[in-house]
Subunit: 396 residues, 2 copies
Amino acid sequence: MCCAHGAALLGHGHPAVAQALRQAIKLGFVNSFETEFHEELARRVCALIPCAEKIRFCSSGSEATLHLIRICRGFTGRNKIIRIEGHFHGYHELIYIGGQPPPDKFPENRNRPYLESAGIPSEFANLIIPLPYNDPPALRQAIAEHGKDTALVILEPVNYNSGCILPQPGYLELVRQLTKDAGIILFFDEIQSSFKKSSGGAQHDFGVIPDVCTIGKSLGGGLPLSAFCGRADIMDMCKPIGPVQHSGTFNAHLVPVLAGLAFLEEAAKPGFYPHLRALEVHFHEGLDRIINDYDLNMVAPHHGARFNIILGRRTPALRYEDAFCHSRDVMLQLIRECWERGLYLHDYGGSPAHHGYSIQHTKADIDRALNVLADVLKAMKPVLKKPCASRSVTRG
Amino acid sequence: MCCAHGAALLGHGHPAVAQALRQAIKLGFVNSFETEFHEELARRVCALIPCAEKIRFCSSGSEATLHLIRICRGFTGRNKIIRIEGHFHGYHELIYIGGQPPPDKFPENRNRPYLESAGIPSEFANLIIPLPYNDPPALRQAIAEHGKDTALVILEPVNYNSGCILPQPGYLELVRQLTKDAGIILFFDEIQSSFKKSSGGAQHDFGVIPDVCTIGKSLGGGLPLSAFCGRADIMDMCKPIGPVQHSGTFNAHLVPVLAGLAFLEEAAKPGFYPHLRALEVHFHEGLDRIINDYDLNMVAPHHGARFNIILGRRTPALRYEDAFCHSRDVMLQLIRECWERGLYLHDYGGSPAHHGYSIQHTKADIDRALNVLADVLKAMKPVLKKPCASRSVTRG
């Protein structure tokens, strides 16, 4: 239930992707220029993603956010970025700052955004304004204070990377309105959320349309493919029309492009999302029953084919620090016990991680997973019933 | 003779890569974790590249330089970067500054490094120190002035991206010595030069071993694969051993890794480099003869399976500004004329671009290319004989 961190929504070895690879062999597989397959993929994605008037492809999610941030800065002539704590937008210096500080570094994050890796020059943090998720006053204040210097507000509409934190009713609508009023680009990072619940992404699921977004993970059917897309006037900032560079030998490589077409073909089949939805309902009904029966201090929030497990609380988190109650040590024990019984959940070593299922999973697979979880959670009852030895930080 | 910008050293549709793709189909093709194939690829590359004690993989060249720069900064605790004008190291904010300014922006580049794209915050240029290539006094002065704040000296040992500018005798040795003395990491960007003349890269060809390097393009047999490698103590800065993050769902994707193994297998065959060398000699003997016969004001410097065409001068350039004599308009005319006769050379819209051949090219292909070039260059004699209407900038 790792599913390649969310990339394998078609599972492993799906015949449609195998067929795409065979087609790639026939075509010669390396071609650094656009083909009719690129055009077709662009056309199809733009028809699915509400904000997408134009689109460009890359290999990784990090590349997509990197290039799209540059475009937002070029378009607005501003450099600051308002971002949300807990949200993850790739491993690069433009945005790997202030997102997921460890609990002991969290209190100072809003004054001095946390550098999430050694080797990032500290002055880069001057351009980052981290905010709590689902906090209208904090957003209003940040835009009032920094709006004129701010190029973009970037967020994961579903914050899978810190406990599957969902937007509270009205929050995305407010972000949409305030960014529009302030001439700030609203950037949804849908690398993970795209295609997980619907082929329109979280912007479709919640009915709030950003100016631009990134998509990825499952887009390439498991092959390395990401994209950024959005309003035509913003996308036209790219050379050769505009002054912003987006280029690279391996962007939109033919092999992932063919696999991406295969993925979209599968995702468009009438049974695709109903099957994923049935798995979701079946899994969470089962897991919630186990949590309830054993009276465990844990919760499993979910959105589409991806879910998280937060230990130490019984309701979904609303913001990053709400999940500081999650004990990594206990989670690793849980994962080890599951692994020994044939169920693989992956931990990323910090915030509560995300897990999921693919179109190839069956209800019987979910039952098997639930049986393993029932065994493991029963055995771990003493530690999972305990009140949280929390390092939670209350908002100051 | 574009060869996917240098990625298709095996050409298009090579059977060894096709076999790797068939193997990928059998294995299920998506797997976000290391396999025995990753281990084998790492072991083999480390045996070939002189500086490589440890290695990590990414998809693109830009990702490789991005992550390795972060590691150099983490290792040294310094942030400045000494770079060489004309050299290209990827499309990201850490280094897409001060490399290839247009001629009219060139004079101020060393005081205010040129931002090579809109959307790059100008303060990022404060960390970049651009120098002319092959200029020992400039290097000595920069290290004397900025050495204590400088994390790395980065360069393309063969500057394919601005006219195939080669290091002059003793220059790389001097860089090696001065960086060592100053505790600065010497970073060779071998994304393009790796495997082009030998499987040890330019560091092998010139006998100067950097501390770290990036490799890519042809490494994946045409599939999206890059890597960074170097001294174990520097590479160990990465998590989980050290504090620098390098991660990503699509890094070291199984499909390019399998294709990479296929590439190395081909490149290790006894006839591989002799064949490429024979093509190189044959092509350049022929092209030089044409240039000579028609008395043209152009030159085609080369290193291994990749070459450039510089218009407006008869000797190879020694530094970036030496190629300002190159007329893009005339080059585009040349490329159009060749294209119409079945020979594809690619232009990147600035500095004199690189072209090349693959292992699948034959002497007969080279003869065909030479025949086209002879026709085209003969027809263009009037414009190519002209003295250069140069916008050259003499060093101040």
